[in-house]
Amino acid sequence: MFEDQSDQALLAHFRETQDPKVIALLMTRYDGLIYGMALKWLRDPERVRDFAGDLYIKLFEHLQKQEVDNFPAWLGRTTRNRLHDLRRKDQVRDDYKSVYVPPEAPDVESAWDLAMDIKELREAIESLSDTEKIVIRGVYFEGKSYHEIGEEYGWSFNQVRGARERAIRKLRNLLSDDFKNYFKD
């Protein structure tokens, strides 16, 4: 019954009726945006579903009183903000753990292994092309998104994506299993 209606018509109908089906339908329309953004931060489809449940409640509360002109842009912002909140909570939990659980003291042998591993990793990264190096450092060591790297160097999304894929393929061949796991996604 609602499927053919525009976002604006649905939002107006929701403000009038508070029908929860409208929110579910809007979220289904933009399922790629929500799923992809949440997957980028949470990595786990089960956590993504939990997150979508929370987001549904937030949208239900906000959209009763708020008028929205550009729904996809607003939904992107709201999803990002909710994910930031979730990340902050995770950070607090991790900080708590690090304070109250004493870390194991590394023995001499594992310290030596670590030094060797870092050398191996550095050499493998040095063997990449300049573009691949920039992308790998950006994505894995500086936590940048494809978009941020693209903006910085004037590359398209697909150029960054392609460079990451090529670099990962090379690194998987060059590195031992421990590091292969590090670069698995």
Binding site: P20, K21, R29, L33, Y35, K40, F71, Y146, F157, D185
Partner: protein, 289 residues
């Protein structure tokens, strides 16, 4: 061009199709514009791109579960009550003895009908095999003939031998390699990639097409169907070569695994009409589909 606020562009189906290379030119260009202009959209696409799953089937299952979850969010207690009410209700009251007798008579009639139609049900209602099961019966790696090539092709021959070793191992026991392919596939892929960095002129057309075929095989069995199609395409475009029917067959399989069944069927129909080793297989696969 489609408006950048078009909901279709933000759907999981469209975004995944973009990553798999399955969009028409107009939608693809709209998606690319959005990627450049909307950082949240680019972030979402990156999330989909970097999410690792064992197979396309596992990925599709996760996405279907998410969609089902979203659809379920709007269902209220009242909706569930309406669903329950819509189910046929039991007759409110009858004398227990009469009801038992009626039920017994109905059961006798039902039993007779069932006995009569059971063979027909069995014949017509064989359970539909899943794509996984069909693939297990039909999809196996190509094996190259082992004739020796010229000096130029010596490198290609050794990569082909590595690939053939892997494909033989796989064919002997496909189930054993469902989770991890023989390492020869990766080694051969790297070899083919290396060979294909040479210009076609120095490689020769035949060698070029053979390397494309080999690389396509490695990619297909490693789960990179969209990339595999890119390798089979020049073989099909070239037209007159010994790998043409095989390239069509494996392109059809790549499309099937990408759930682009209609495009796959078009190729299979074409294969089933021309004389080749794949004619009977294509016909039989079409029947199963």
């Amino acid at each position: 061009m489609a408006s950048l606020n078009e909901p279709k562009l933000y759907s999981l189906a469209t975004m995944q199709a973009y990553l798999d290379g399955g969009l028409d030119a107009e939608t693809q260009s709209a998606v690319e514009k959005l990627l450049a202009e909307n950082p949240d959209y680019a972030l979402a696409m990156e999330g989909l791109d970097r999410h690792q799953v064992d197979s396309v089937f596992a990925r599709d299952k996760e996405q279907k579960e998410f969609k089902a979850f979203l659809t379920g969010l709007g269902t209220t207690k009242e909706d569930k009550k309406v669903e329950t009410q819509a189910k046929p209700q039991e007759t409110p009251f009858e004398e227990p003895m009469v009801r038992d007798l009626r039920a017994a008579r109905w059961w006798q009639i039902a039993a007779v009908i069932l006995i009569l139609i059971l063979p027909a049900i069995y014949f017509f209602q064989k359970p539909d095999p899943t794509l996984d099961q069909i693939a297990m019966n039909y999809l196996e790696p190509y094996t190259f003939s082992t004739e020796r090539g010229s000096t130029v092709a010596r490198e290609l021959d050794s990569v082909r031998d590595i690939y053939n070793d892997g494909s033989m191992l796989y064919k002997k026991d496909p189930k054993a390699f469902q989770n991890e392919l023989p390492p020869e596939f990766e080694a051969a892929k790297q070899g083919y990639l290396q060979i294909l960095t040479l210009p076609i002129d120095s490689l020769g057309t035949r060698q070029y097409l053979q390397a494309k075929m080999g690389l396509g095989q490695c990619l297909l069995f490693q789960g990179y169907q969209a990339e595999a199609i890119e390798q089979f395409e020049p073989i099909i475009q070239h037209g007159d070569n010994e790998w043409l029917p095989a390239a069509k067959w494996y392109k059809a399989w790549s499309l099937l695994l990408l759930q682009r069944e209609e495009e796959a069927k078009t190729i299979l129909v074409d294969l089933s009409r021309q004389k080749s080793d794949y004619r009977a297989k294509a016909q039989s696969l079409l029947d199963e589909l």
